[in-house]
């Protein structure tokens, strides 16, 4: 068994993967999540998977053992452990994860995770995202926000769309030559802009959810200038706060990922700026500033090739002089989906029939995403607005028929439904009626450890490729939100 890709961070309150799966100390609790793949060539029985350790004393992980009675050949099972990153130091960290079965020698997988440290200085209104290779400072100059939405309900999260950002990358140390190190020898610097912007919004509503006195996040910010409003079409009305937070997490990921779209996956403004501004021998680059201005030709949408008009200015400051480079262009989202297929029962009998949801995610080349390529979950909402988060997996286990066939399957257990109705003191009769199913999916970073850093940088994970929740610029128009499936639950 082996872990093929870098383990990634899931924010536990929203269930959403953080940008590119990178961990940040500003969100104290995060799920260390990995896909463990059975590449033994045969079925494995009675497999235990547990977390052995992490190479940072500042990270504490809650131990937990996952037992899989069976793992089909080729299947990737998803495992995750809750970690506290508040006292972590930024850098690459090794994690050791053990798989063991009676028929298999103990397998120890040592993989690297990436940890950044983001903070906010309210005096200067600057965010800083620190990694060993340098620090990215960001000032959020202008955003579009859903001010109306959040005004009346403090616990209802605010969605922000980036418009103008001023960023300075300070390499550590200053470097000689045309090109500096990539952070972690992997992602582009633009990923850290995404991290900062996403944390600024997600952090704010996590803090609001937990309330004062319960330390949960280390970064919150303020935004004075807004040049427009954005609204959300989401199944949030009537939902309990945790599910609204999930939807907000999804929307914030979509909104903040516009930075990734505008700054392009093949080469980001820092790399293109470096290419366009060669330096003299012995000249030391001290900082690189990028100011971006995003104009939305249409609302960002998960899985769609929406265009973003971007204007950016790059300035390289050296020990001798400064150089500038300017670009104005239109970029399209390339993390797209051709088709989402959802298979759910038209009707079923409560406490009798299995509430199974199946989904397929078809790429532009007509091939389906499969196995460990996606992080997928469904939000299932009853007729009386009680909601449930159900993970969907393509591991060939339990409700999923075959591993890696591109069908992601999950089941809402009736005992879970019953327990939540009791917990929320709702009348059981509310179980009957029409239930809505909303599907959400993010891609995972499939860069491998043997890749050249410049190639690995072009592989980005955590982009929403499917979302039942959408952003819109005109809240006077009918909301285009549609459930991915509707199920009639009968007595």
């Amino acid at each position: 068994m082996s872990i093929l890709n870098r383990p990634f961070s899931i924010e536990p309150l929203t269930g959403v993967m953080l940008p590119d799966g990178i961990f940040d100390t500003a969100i104290f609790e995060q799920q260390i999540t990995a896909y463990y793949t059975n590449n033994s060539g045969s079925i494995l029985n009675d497999v235990d998977i547990y977390f052995e350790g992490v190479s940072d004393l500042g990270i504490t992980v809650s131990p937990k053992t996952f037992n899989f009675p069976i793992i089909p050949s080729g299947a990737s099972v998803k495992v995750s452990w809750l970690g506290n990153f508040q006292n972590a130091s930024p850098g690459k960290k090794n994690v050791s994860i053990i798989a063991k079965s009676n028929a298999m020698e103990l397998k120890r997988e040592i993989k690297q995770i990436f940890v950044t440290r983001t903070s906010y200085d309210s005096t200067t209104q600057l965010y800083s995202c620190e990694v060993p290779e340098g620090t990215l400072q960001m000032r959020i100059v202008d955003v579009m926000s859903d001010k109306k939405h959040c005004k009346n309900n403090k616990k209802s999260p605010s969605i922000l769309l980036p418009v103008k950002l001023e960023m300075t990358m300070m390499p550590n140390p200053g470097y000689e030559g045309q090109f500096g190190d990539l952070p972690f020898q992997d992602p582009w610097w633009k990923i850290f802009a995404w991290i900062v912007f996403a944390l600024a919004t997600i952090g704010a509503f996590i803090a609001a959810y937990f309330g004062e006195g319960k330390a949960s996040v280390g970064v919150e910010g303020e935004f004075d200038e807004t040049t427009g409003t954005v609204s959300c079409c989401s199944p949030s009305d009537g939902l309990s706060v945790p599910e609204r937070i999930t939807v907000a997490g999804v929307l914030s990921t979509i909104a903040s990922a516009a930075i990734v779209v505008g700054c392009a996956d093949d080469k980001d403004p820092w790399r293109r700026g470096q290419e366009a501004t060669p330096v003299k021998p012995g000249e030391i680059t001290l900082s690189e500033n990028v100011i971006i201005h995003l104009t939305y030709l249409e609302a960002p949408s998960a899985g769609k090739a929406y265009p973003v008009e971007i204007d950016w200015n790059y300035t390289r400051i050296t020990n001798l002089t400064s150089y500038q480079f300017h670009v104005h262009e239109i970029r399209n989202n390339i993390h797209t989906l051709k088709e989402l297929i959802v298979d759910a029962p038209v009707s079923l009998k409560a406490f009798n029939d299995q509430f199974i949801i199946r989904s397929q995610f078809i790429k532009e080349n007509n091939k389906a995403f499969k196995g460990n390529e996606l992080h997928v979950f469904a939000l299932i909402v009853s007729s009386t607005k009680v909601s449930f988060i159900v993970p969907l997996l393509d591991d060939g286990i339990q409700y999923d028929k075959y591993a890696n066939d591109g069908v992601y399957t999950g089941c809402l257990e009736w005992r879970t439904v019953y327990a939540k109705y009791k917990q929320e003191e709702k009348d059981d009769s509310g179980i009957y009626g029409y239930w809505n199913v909303f599907i959400y999916a993010q891609d995972t970073n499939n860069a491998t450890t043997d890749m050249d850093p410049l190639e690995a940088a072009t592989h980005i994970g955590g982009m929403m490729i499917a979302s039942a929740s959408e952003l819109t610029f005109d809240d006077t128009l009918p909301c285009p939100l549609k459930a991915n499936a509707t199920v009639l639950v009968t007595p």
């Binding site: 052995e52 350790g53 053992t65 120890r108």
Partner: protein, 276 residues
């Protein structure tokens, strides 16, 4: 259901064969001696000798300055690992946090591993002494390898004696020749990256003694034992003096340094002297 989680002591209890080092950047590499200033990984064997499966056993790894009795208050946590053990099972546990020994000790430090689980707990509160002889969940590896070639006339090796924060102690520190069974010797040598076939055990190839003085003098090897009074919260250095005997054969010799309080051995340090 009986529960018993163990990390075994050695034949001399402070030289546990259940703790070992892998020097270098690859924790799955070959065991060997720690390299000062560079990355090393620490491993431990943990055994479930009870009659029930136990999950989530936490194994803490510590380093301490070369000493006889090792204290929590003078030790540093390297990192932790978790292990699940079924009844009767033994597993190797890796401390994935790398250990970089400080150069000042030439890379030698004392290592301690302890296994923590609610199902076989250590007493609360924990005493400052690790006391591996008393607790089956704790083991110590206090073994130092010294290359003492015949071209060297003498050598001094520092060790540290510490008192707990709240209690002064009167101790006797002694040095004597030691011996290992062939099985333990082979295991220990392999863990230290020493070819057991290359070295044969010798007797009287080195002269040795203890002193509070860190200088060498002609024919000065100190004493075979020293009585010390250590005040609470303080440490004192002692020095092992080595010299060549008139029979400088190649091979190895083992010296044992013991700390005794009221005739009870409370700590120790094993020195393997290699002579080429």
């Amino acid at each position: 259901m009986a529960t018993k989680i163990e990390i075994y002591d050695g034949e001399t209890w402070w030289a546990s064969p259940d703790i070992w080092i892998v020097p270098g950047d690859d924790p799955n590499g070959t065991p060997g001696q720690p390299v000062a200033g560079q990355t090393n990984y620490v491993w431990a064997n943990v055994h479930n000798n009870g009659t029930t499966d136990i999950n989530g056993i936490r194994v803490n790894f510590y380093w301490s300055n070369p000493a006889t009795g090792v204290l929590r208050s003078t030790s540093t946590l390297i990192g932790s690992g978790y292990v699940d053990l079924r009844e009767g099972e033994t597993k190797q546990v890796l401390c994935i946090s790398p250990w970089v020994p400080i150069v000042v000790n030439g890379g030698h430090e004392c290592l301690v591993a302890e296994a923590l689980t609610n199902l076989d707990p250590l007493p609360t509160p924990l005493s400052d002494e690790f006391d591996p002889k008393r607790y089956h969940q704790i083991a110590q590896k206090n073994v130092q390898v010294i290359s003492f070639s015949s071209s060297m006339a003498s050598m001094i090796i520092p060790i540290q004696i510490s008192a707990t924060p709240r209690k002064r102690k009167s101790v006797k520190i002694s040095i004597q020749k030691g011996k290992l069974s062939e099985k333990e010797q082979i295991k220990l040598f392999n863990q230290l990256g020493i070819n057991p076939k290359k070295y044969k055990e010798q007797s009287n190839s080195v002269l040795f003694g203890l002193s509070e003085k860190n200088f060498t003098g002609k024919d000065f090897f100190g004493a075979s034992s020293i009585d010390l009074k250590i005040h609470e919260k303080t440490s004192q250095s002692l020095y092992v003096h080595l010299g060549q005997s008139d029979k400088p054969q190649s091979g190895f010799e083992i010296l044992l340094i013991t700390e005794t309080i009221d005739k009870k051995v409370v700590g120790g340090n094993t020195i393997i002297i290699l002579k080429d």
